[in-house]
Structures are given as C-alpha cells and as structure tokens.
Amino acid sequence: MTSVADGGPVLEAAGLTVHYPVHRGPIGGRVVHALDDVTLTLHPGRIVAVVGESGSGKSTLARVLAMAQQPTAGSVRLSGQEVRLRSRRARREYASRVQLVLQDPFSSLNPLHRVRYLLARPLALHAGVRAEAELDRRIRGLLERVALTPAERFIDAYPHELSGGQRQRVAIARALAVRPDVILGDELVSMLDVSMRLEILNLLSGLRDEERLAMLYITHDIAAARYFTDEIAVMYAGEIVEYGPSEPVTQAPAHPYTKLLIGSSPDPGREPALDGDDDDLGEPPDLVAPPAGCRFHPRCPFVMAHCRVSAPPRVDVDAGRWARCWLLVDEVEPTPRQTT
C-alpha cells in the first residue's frame, strides 16, 4: 500500500460524464445522461455520502470510480495521477487501492465458496500470501476487524449460512483484505434488516477513524448519511446539486431538491406532515431528454422563468459548501410557483 500525503485528496472524479447510447429506431444519437460533469474528491479519514433517488446516477458514479466502467468524458485521478487501466496488472494495482462493495449481500458472495476461500483470494492476488498458516492468520485478523468472532464459527461457513448483516461484513472484510486506501460502498445496508444496519454503519465509521480510510457511501437514506458521514453530495438527474458538510446540509439545506428529500424522509420527531397537500411533485426526470435549464425545474416549488432556460452555476453558500441554484444568486428574486 503506497502512502498518501496527508491532506491531499486520494481519489478524485473530475468532470465525469457517462452517456449510454439508446438504440431506438432510425433516429440515432440519443443517449441516457447517467452522469454529467461530476466532480468529487475523497480524502483519507473522511466519508463522503452521495444521496439521491434511483436514476440520480449515484451507482454509476461508484462504478466509474471503481473503474468497472469507462466514462464517456472526464477522468478519475488516484493520488493526483490520472488513471488509465490498460492491462490486467494495472487493474489489479488499482484494485489494491480502491475497492467497491456492493449492495446485495446475497449475490456479492459466490454461494458455492466458503468464507475462507472468499477472503483468501484477495490475499493471494494482492498481498501475495499463499502459505496456509499465514493465510489463516490473516483471514482471522480480517474477521476480527469486522467483528465476526469467534472466527471458527464463520471461517468455514457458506454464505447462505450467514445472515444478511454477516454477509455484508464478509464483503467488507474482503475489501479490506487488499489494504485499500479507498472503499466505495453502494447502498450497503438497504437490503438489510433495520436492526442490523447500525452495526455496519458503526463499522464503517470505525474504519474511517482508526484506519484513516477514505470512503464514498452511496445511499438514498439521508438520515443515515447525516448519522456518520462527514460530507454529503446530493445528486439529481446525473448532477451534483448540493455539496457540503453533513450537518449544515441536512439542517439548513440550500437546494430545493435537498429540502424536498429531507421533507419527504420519515421523521417521527416532527408533527404529522401527512395532512399537507398531495399536489403532484412530478415524476422522476427523463434521463434521455432531461429538462432544459435546471433539471429540477419541473418539480421545483420556487421555479422562476430563468430556471427553465439556463442551467444554474455552482454557487458557494459557505466554506466548503455549494449548491447549483438560481435562488442563491443574489440578483434573482424567488417567487413560489402558482398552484394550478
């Protein structure tokens, strides 16, 4: 594992754009705008949450950062160097520094392999560990780090003998086996029972504090993001619409979409908000032909004429905090949308 200079970013996405071609009839050239000009940095010892609904592009972002797919434009930089994977060896080296952990604990582990094999493979491939005794020792160490103890109970188990939370911990242990600098987690807990989620979140939090790992945590649950991550990037229709430290973003959101997300999340602490108007807040955006101007404008309660025409710029709200919204640009006056 190469050391990373303190303070500098370890993994960066610079202007990442991913367009998938759509094959539909004689009219060519239509694309799905999965990601558009996304810029994000990850630092050691900090967790960045990417929050958004399905179709927002968050999973695509994780996959591009893991180099599981090629971006249409833009680049990924590891420790300042642009990443270009030309050979299998280059891919392996990248994997030893950046690991992706996926959402489904049922399908991310091969059901026919025991935990021992699943953890031995990355150790053999990346740390060159092949001696039985050493492998065994390292595997036990990994299981201990993800709190799967006593190791005897788990080391020879098959995935179907474990609960969802345990399987996810094995997946995290597998990612840790290569001693990465960065862990990318895609909705790690959404398929787990509620009571098991916190142990995973606490585990990730511990990894950040003790091992100074850089992490990207993708979720649709903004309350969980607030709980343990340092920064939140809110994504909508393939773009980041707001970015900043978790607490201010959730307590005083700047972008109307963030406000909508927070207002829609279940919050037993607040007075029942189901009496409000169930006016149609619109459908999720069409990624093949996204709305002109600000992509959120069809659903925005504060939409102005300007929003329909030109895409808003990045506006700094505070130190380390910004959002893309015309409302934040001083000379434009907000007016609530007329209800039809």
Binding site: S163, S195, D221, S264, P268, D275
Partner: protein, 333 residues
C-alpha cells in the same frame, strides 16, 4: 376513532411443514383487533411472520404453510360475522377484494404486462359487480383520478408507467370495490422517498374520505409512526407489543421495540451513538422455550428464557415483557 369492530383475530397459529423435521412456527398465538376506519401498522423484520400472518388471514397461503389454530372473525356492515378461517370458497371469493383488499409488496409487478390498464381494471370490477363495460370504465377512471394518475394514462401498458405510478395503480385497483379493509404489505418499499411521501399522503386522504381501515405492514417503523393510529410489533412470529402510535414511539415497553426505535438515526436534534440490536433474528425451526428476543436482550434473565412472557395489558397497550422499559423519552417538537 372508536369505530365498530371490523376484524377480530384470536390466537392465530400458522406453521410451515418441513420435510423430515419439526414444523417451522411462522406465526404463534397472534391476537389483535381492527376497528372501522383504523390504521393499524404491523412492524417487523424478516422472519417476524408479518407476511405469513396476512396470507393466512386471507387464506392465500400456499403449502407447506398450514394454519393450525386460531380464529379470525370479520364483521361486515350488514349480516353475520364471518369466520375467515373456515368460510367456504364462495364466501371467501366474495370477501376478497370486495370487503378485504390486498396490495402486495411487488404489486406493481402484479399488473399484467400485456394488457392495458383500463382493461385490467374493467375486468377486476366486472368480476365483482354487475356493471356494463362503460360503467366499469367510468368507475376505473374515477379511481385513477383519486390516486392522482391522469385519466389519459389509462390506455397505457404497465411498462409505460413509472414505478410510482404502477404502485398507485395497484392501490387504485385495490380500492375499486370500496372495501372495508385494505391490507398493504410493504407498499412503498420499492419506490423512492419522495414518491413514498406522495403515496402515503394520497392513502391518508383516501382513507379520510372513504373511511376504510388499513393494515399497513412494513419493516420501516419510522414510517408507521407517521401514518398509523396503532402499531403492533412482531418478532419471532409473535406480537410482542401493541400500542397507540405516539405512545409506542415516546414510551415503548418491550425491549425489542426500544431497540427497533433506536435503530433509526434521527434527522433532527442531537446525533447519539446508536448501536442497533446485536445478534441475529431467531431461527424459527428451533424455537426457544422462553422469550425469542432474550438472546439479544441486554436485560434478559433466567425467567425470560424459561417461559414465553405473557401479554400484559396497561391502559391502551399490551406487551409481552417481564422487564419492560420504563423511562419516558422527551421528544423534541
């Protein structure tokens, strides 16, 4: 909201016959009541028995699930109470959809993909009511409007609608015969949080207008706290606590309820260090002699593991815990 009694379930037991071994007790001794116009939330994680409970009530369960004990009485507005578990096939067929409707978890996938929405609705309505095609279509249009789908979308095929619309369409389908009870099993799990809020608002509004009762089943306790009048918590096939929603949130009794409530990181207010609930859900093939939550409970004693705790009643709540939680929690408004 003390309406008439609508549903009375008493001591329901459902088991799965396993090949060459002891049966798996999916639902054990479940009793609850439902009143007209009441929204009852049933919260539980995987393996708690909540889905088995509903399929057993409606006699929709498939082998090897067998209902082995208990009683479930339905009280229609006119006529005698019906025993759901022993009614004959014809009565049951009339009951289903007309009096008791169900929206299942992957309901949006239950729409026939090769039939237009309007014809699916018309079929469903005419299966239960003597209406002409035109009348049935008008009724379907009205239902669509009620759930917020433009009437123009009726001639679409299911795949042309978004997930949220499909879910609302299935809710409309459930309401088309104006049932007394609508059972919803995880109706919003597959949709985004914004759409979820919209759908819940629509359900709440429809419920206020039409007055049907709802049994809302989900693993998301925080959601139930916002929509239900009353909440029942299921664990290991039993109801371990049942109380008015607010009381359950502010001052739960059963230790599992406390753990579950504290598994949801708060959006507002201070961020505490949360621990969730250690351990794993119980193995229903090897039921414990005592409380099934005892292995995961920090407050369990030998008594807890000896016998299943009985249900105690306290004002409007019941719970099955011999070392209940007592401290009231201040909730920031």
């Amino acid at each position: 909201m003390n309406g008439d009694l609508l549903l009375d379930v008493d001591g329901l037991c459902v088991q799965y016959d396993m090949p060459g071994g002891a049966p798996l007790l999916a639902v054990s001794d479940v009793s609850f009541t439902l009143r007209r116009g009441e929204i009852l939330g049933i919260a539980g994680e995987s393996g708690s028995g909540k889905t088995t409970l509903i399929t057993a009530l409606l006699r929709l369960q498939r082998p090897p699930a067998v209902t082995v004990a208990g009683r479930a009485r339905f009280f229609p507005r006119d006529g005698e109470p019906l025993d759901l578990l022993h009614a004959d096939a014809r009565t049951l067929r009339r009951l289903r959809w007309e009096r008791i409707a169900v929206v299942f978890q992957s309901a949006m996938n239950a729409l026939n993909p090769v039939q237009r929405l309007s014809s699916q609705f018309v079929d469903a309505v005419r299966a239960h009511r003597r209406l002409s095609k035109a009348e049935a279509r008008r009724r379907a249009e009205r239902m669509f409007e009620l759930v917020g789908i433009p009437a123009g979308r009726m001639r679409d095929y299911p795949h042309e609608l978004s997930g949220g619309m499909r879910q609302r369409a299935t809710i409309a389908l459930a309401l088309v015969c104006e049932p007394d009870v609508v059972v919803m099993d995880e109706p919003t799990t597959a949709v985004d949080v914004v759409m979820q809020r919209q759908i819940l608002r629509q359900i709440a509004r429809l419920q206020r207008e039409a007055g049907f009762a709802i049994i809302f089943i989900t693993h998301d306790l925080s959601l139930l706290l916002e929509i239900s009048h009353r909440i029942a918590i299921m664990y290991g096939g039993r109801i371990v606590e049942s109380a008015p929603a607010l009381a359950l949130h502010r001052d739960p009794r059963h230790r599992y309820t406390v753990g579950l409530r504290d598994s949801f990181p708060p959006l507002r207010g201070p961020v505490p260090q949360l621990l969730g609930i250690p351990g794993t859900p119980p193995d229903l093939r090897r039921p414990l002699p005592g409380c099934s939550f005892a292995p995961r409970c920090a407050h369990s004693t030998a008594d807890c593991e000896a016998t299943v705790p009985p249900l105690q009643t306290e004002a409007e709540r019941v719970y099955a815990c011999i070392h209940p939680h007592r401290q009231a929690v201040e909730v920031q408004p």
